[in-house]
């Protein structure tokens, strides 16, 4: 008998109010996952608009598209939005949706905590954005924060940041930070306690492993930010002196606390991206992942070493030569497990039969781009080189290469790969390829050439620049690239919407894949599995499809 499947459209007999109510009070991991993803997509568009205005202002020297005050708010909000209200929610969304399905269980360990975490995160974002409405009021009483996404002290002190803009930043992120910790606790408990019988830690999909390490990192990385924000709020509201340099406080202490969060945070963002690549590349190469145990070990190594590199963001602060050398070597060392992963992905494709469907196209671009991003990271890790390149557009180019060229590309891959599972429909392959090529061109126009002004001395966070320094043409090219990316992103969203309503039925397993989520219907029933599966290898569906040659004989 056919199981009742949940679809996104309201069923004919159900009034819209009931559907909305279902979604608002849901504790189902699949619905919450989709809520996270949709929330993040909205902020992706908003953050993209902020970036576009920034790039238009920088298109030519001495431009007057926006005032310096507006520009400073825009780059602050762009960075804060993209990290906290796009990247983190969207990755948590995919984790929420996929993990229970991939480990063979019915929901996350704490479904109500899951809902609470989502709504906290959502509220945090709304609180941050409320700052825009605060308006110019009484001498800066409210408006969007303009202190940069890392909010260095003492610029954030009440002396230099009048009104409440900084408070919106602090409190919005504090609130969503609690949501992130809640989700991390949930992911940890789910993966450790709810795996289906037979799925030992050594047999679970790499996506589960990478999210496990990510969750552990979130617990230990978001907390320092939370602590620092509490301290900043005590300074601003109760006259405390944590970062009050006039009272003997230390501006550098804020930097240490912030970057102890800030650096592991980028691994929190990139490990789930690696997870997507590790699931998608094998399926489209028709081979199991090369070196599963080494991939796990490398992930754990990144988790640990990632906490030892933070002050490479502070090479110019005046630390002594021993500290600078220490952070140089730890940063270089973390390139090793990261590089190993790239080699293992190549090893996976080696000897395979690669099908260039949209998810795989995005993953292949990811491999090339992440290679470059890692290499510019090595350049930045050499402290003296960083004394020139730090705080310049070279750094901006580097981290956008990682976040857009690495993380966003694998996110697009993940969208196309799991969209059939989530919606029950196939996406349109032609539109997908258009999206890919347009975005690829736009990405490279903007971020390849952005390295050059950095090498030529252009610092970051400037609303305009002097003509004749050799920066003009490159800035123009960067801005042109933005328009390709805008068109591509709109095409992406349009194509998903079109496919949702008009795509052909996907069936359970359109990719002939091997992990448990493909054994459920598309979309899955609310309870995921009629019977909790029992597994014997890392590719349970391969074992079922190839009973003469199952994986558990060879692993």
């Amino acid at each position: 008998m056919a199981a009742r499947s949940i679809t996104l459209t309201a069923e004919v007999s159900q009034p819209i109010g009931t559907t909305l109510h279902d979604w608002v009070v849901t504790v189902d991991h699949k619905k919450l996952g989709i809520l996270y993803i949709l929330y993040a997509l909205v902020f992706l568009l908003i953050g993209g608009i902020e970036a576009t205005i920034v790039r238009v202002q920088l298109m030519v020297p001495n431009n007057h598209f926006v005032s310096p005050q507006v520009f400073n708010r825009l780059f602050t909000m762009h960075g804060t939005t993209m990290i906290f209200f796009v990247a983190m929610p969207i990755l948590f969304g995919f984790a929420n949706y996929l993990i229970p399905l991939m480990i063979g269980t019915r929901d996350m360990a704490f479904p109500r905590l899951n809902a609470w975490s989502f709504w906290l995160t959502a509220f945090g974002g709304l609180l941050l954005y409320f700052s825009f409405i605060g308006g110019n009021g009484l001498y800066g009483a409210g408006n969007a924060p303009d202190v940069g996404w890392f909010a260095y002290a003492p610029l954030t002190a009440t002396t230099f940041s009048l009104g409440h803009s900084t408070d919106f930043w602090t409190l919005g992120l504090l609130v969503s930070g609690f949501g992130s910790i809640g989700t991390a606790i949930n992911i940890l408990a789910t993966i450790i306690c709810l795996r289906c019988p037979g799925m030992t830690l050594g047999k679970m999909p790499l996506l589960a492993w990478m999210n496990l390490v990510t969750a552990a990192m979130v617990l230990l990385a978001i907390s320092p930010l939370t602590a620092a924000q509490i301290m900043l709020s005590l300074d601003r509201f109760l006259g405390a002196h944590f970062f009050d340099t006039q009272a003997g406080g230390s501006a550098v202490l804020w930097m240490h606390f912030f970057w102890i969060f800030g650096h592991p945070e980028v691994y929190v963002l990139v490990l789930p991206a690696f997870a997507f690549a590790s699931e998608i590349i094998p399926v489209f190469s028709r081979k199991p992942i090369f070196g599963y145990p080494v991939m796990v070990a490398a992930t754990i190594a990144i988790g640990f070493v990632g906490f030892s590199v933070w002050a490479h963001h502070m090479f110019t602060v005046g630390m002594n030569s021993y500290a600078n050398s220490f952070f140089t070597i730890t940063t270089m060392v973390i390139g090793i497990p990261t590089g190993i992963k790239i080699f293992n992905w190549i090893g996976t494709m080696w000897g395979g039969k690669i099908a260039f469907k949209t998810p795989m196209l995005f993953c292949i671009a990811f491999l090339f781009q992440f290679l470059i991003a890692g290499l510019t990271g090595i350049m930045l890790s050499a402290a003296p080189f960083d004394w020139q390149l730090g705080n310049s557009y070279f750094v901006v180019a580097h981290f956008h290469y990682v976040i857009v060229g690495g993380i966003l590309f694998t996110l697009f891959a993940a969208f196309y790969y799991w969209f059939p599972k989530m919606s029950g429909r196939m996406y349109n392959e032609t539109l997908g390829k258009w999206h890919f090529w347009l975005f690829l061109i736009g990405f490279h126009l903007t971020f390849d050439f952005m390295h050059i002004p950095g090498l030529l001395g252009m610092p970051r966070r400037i609303y305009t620049y002097e003509a004749g320094r050799g920066w003009d043409i490159w800035n123009l090219i960067c801005t042109i690239g933005v328009f390709f990316q805008i068109v591509a992103t709109l095409l992406f969203i349009g194509s998903l919407l079109w496919s949702y309503f008009n795509g052909k039925a996907a069936g359970n397993d359109p990719w002939d894949a091997w992990t448990l989520e493909w054994s459920t219907s598309s979309p899955p029933t609310e309870y995921n599995f009629a019977q909790i599966p029992v597994v014997k290898s890392r590719r349970p569906l391969w074992d079922i499809k190839h009973p003469e040659d199952p994986d558990w004989k060879y692993e």
């Binding site: 940069g148 003492p154 610029l155 230099f160 340099t245 006039q246 501006a251 550098v252 199991p288 090369f290 599963y292 145990p293 080494v294 110019t316 602060v317 005046g318 030569s321 050398s325 070597i329 270089m332 060392v333 390139g335 590089g339 190549i346 090893g347 494709m349 080696w350 000897g351 395979g352 039969k353 690669i354 099908a355 090339f368 470059i372 290499l375 510019t376 090595i378 350049m379 050499a382 003296p384 080189f385 004394w387 020139q388 705080n391 310049s392 050059i452 090498l455 030529l456 001395g457 610092p459 970051r460 966070r461 400037i462 305009t464 002097e466 004749g468 320094r469 050799g470 043409i473 994986d551």
Partner: protein, 335 residues
């Protein structure tokens, strides 16, 4: 490839930038900047090699192992891993890291451990929102925004050692052709040094976001030949030039809020919040490089600073036209 671009940058349109005005780190003019370039080129070569190897492997694999049109539909042989291969691509990167690290550590220690020779010039740089204060304690010079230093001859070095302080928020001193950047942080003392080996003007700007007008906290370093530098110092240590023709302008200056922020040595003006104006006319630019130092700009700056640098902390003085002209004329005598 990028280094090549930079050593011969020719933009496709617009004014050809004067190469000496380009803050291009790959045209170093001091030992400090030069040692960074040497290290950078070494790092670039190694990363370029890694790039070529991995790029080739990637390209080869997607071309050679693509699914052909005449595919028989059979699954390829599953290969789960290989310990030897894993070892190889762990050990080799490890060795590369060691080599890179030792090369880097050498340069870190060379730059940060440099000793101050006897002939060194000492400067204290104090960062403000949004201008630079420069003091030469042993020479008795106080100036702003445009730093003059002597060129340094390796046989008889006269580098400039700069102590970096801040009066308010974080800033960063960055002249790419002369040195890597070092931050100015309140309640903290930082140090850096430069030993320029050619004369000329070197441009840079504040490189740590410090507020609304971070973008226009520009920096100019004038490297003078040693006797030129001596002349400059002499000019700077004289008290303010006083003439009777500008009595009216000087009176207005000294009886309005100007003196709360600005100093003119030898007069009652002794404010420290804004730049010292004693030798204002010896500078090529005003508002920390935001505008050339002309009569028009000076006048505009006093009347409406937001027209030049919106959000800077200089208030509009709201003088009438006559007073404005008088004050401007007075300031123009401060050579």
């Amino acid at each position: 490839m990028m280094a090549g671009c930079l050593l011969a940058v020719q933009p496709a349109f617009g004014n050809l930038p004067d190469p000496s005005q380009m803050p291009n780190m790959f045209r170093p003019a001091s030992t400090h900047a030069n040692s960074i370039v040497q290290l950078s080129i070494f790092v670039l070569i190694i990363t370029a090699l890694i790039f070529v190897v991995v790029f080739s492997l990637l390209t080869y694999s997607i071309v050679k192992f693509r699914k052909r049109a005449d595919d028989d539909g059979r699954e390829p042989a599953p290969v789960y891993g290989s310990n030897q291969v894993e070892l190889a691509w762990t050990v080799i990167p490890g060795l590369i890291v060691l080599v890179l690290f030792f090369a880097t550590a050498r340069v870190i220690h060379a730059i940060q451990g440099a000793r101050k020779p006897a002939g060194a010039i000492e400067v204290i740089a104090i960062g403000h929102q949004f201008w630079w204060e420069f003091r030469y304690p042993s020479l008795g010079v106080v100036t702003a925004n445009e730093l003059h230093v002597p060129s340094s001859d390796p046989s008889h070095p006269t580098p400039t050692f700069i102590t970096l302080l801040s009066a308010d928020t974080d800033h960063s001193f960055w002249i790419p052709r002369l040195a890597g950047k070092t931050d100015l942080i309140p309640n903290r003392v930082n140090h850096m040094w430069i030993d320029p080996n050619e004369t000329g003007i070197f441009v840079g700007q504040c490189a740590q976001y410090c507020g609304t007008q971070h973008a226009k906290m520009l920096l100019r370093v004038y490297v003078d030949a040693p006797d030129q530098f001596k002349q400059w110092v002499q000019g700077q240590t004289k008290p303010a030039h006083l003439t009777n023709e500008v009595i009216e302008g000087r009176r207005i200056f000294e009886t309005t809020a100007c003196i709360n922020c600005h100093a003119v040595s030898g007069t009652v003006a002794d404010g420290h919040f804004g730049p010292d104006l004693t030798h204002l006319m010896s500078r090529d630019t005003i508002a920390s490089g935001a505008a050339p130092n002309t009569t028009e700009n000076l006048r505009l700056w006093i009347q409406d600073p937001d027209a030049i640098k919106p959000g800077s902390l200089m208030p509009a003085m709201k003088l009438n036209e006559r007073d404005l002209d008088a004050v401007t004329t007075y300031l123009e005598t401060l050579r």
